[in-house]
Symmetry: C2
Subunit: 98 residues, 2 copies
Amino acid sequence: MAAKTKAVRLTARQLERIARALADPRRYQILEQIGKSGGTLSCTAMRECQPVTAATLSHHMKELETAGLIRIAREGKFATLELDRGVWQAYLDHLNRI
Amino acid sequence: MAAKTKAVRLTARQLERIARALADPRRYQILEQIGKSGGTLSCTAMRECQPVTAATLSHHMKELETAGLIRIAREGKFATLELDRGVWQAYLDHLNRI
DNA sequence: TTGACGGTTAGACAAATATCGAACTATCGA
DNA sequence: TCGATAGTTCGATATTTGTCTAACCGTCAA
């Protein structure tokens, strides 16, 4: 095992951003959806599951991105969200230390 | 191993509360402090480490308590904070499922 | 009993933020 | 070239929330 998740070091500021990002249920659901889809999900597919404006969704995406939890791959008209497993694991490890 | 942490089932509402509770750095520090002290810590000891009013601290304690993350034992004039390891573990398990 | 002390509650206030509509940019097919 | 479509950015708004001060409640020792 041990795929592409290499050890990630999170700064205090990043940890804080991640915690805040997870605090909003909508954003958590987004992460969940990406996870359920195997790690990547198109932005359009997201919209179909979240009853919010495109503007709002875009806002949440940026929030998750700056927290480091996802990467956004833009190709042509479309965008694809990808969960950063390394960061996610690092955050879990951090919480586990309590 | 396997001490007193028995399986805990968290409702969606509780999960949300916990995420929100962790979003504030102050509250996270409180949890951290309790953890570092082996799971319990007097309220007075807390105050010495957090540069906030007693009122503010009380507010955060209640927030952590209603989230289920800590229990507050009141005896006479004093209060003691205790980390609920079962709930904490259940939350980690939940995050791990993503 | 009374005063000091630990903690809580209530109310106010400022900062953060989730959301929206509207205007915008960029891409792609006809 | 035009129009439709995917997503972003901006500005406004309403809600949430972290913090404080002030007043309060219980406990304990003198």
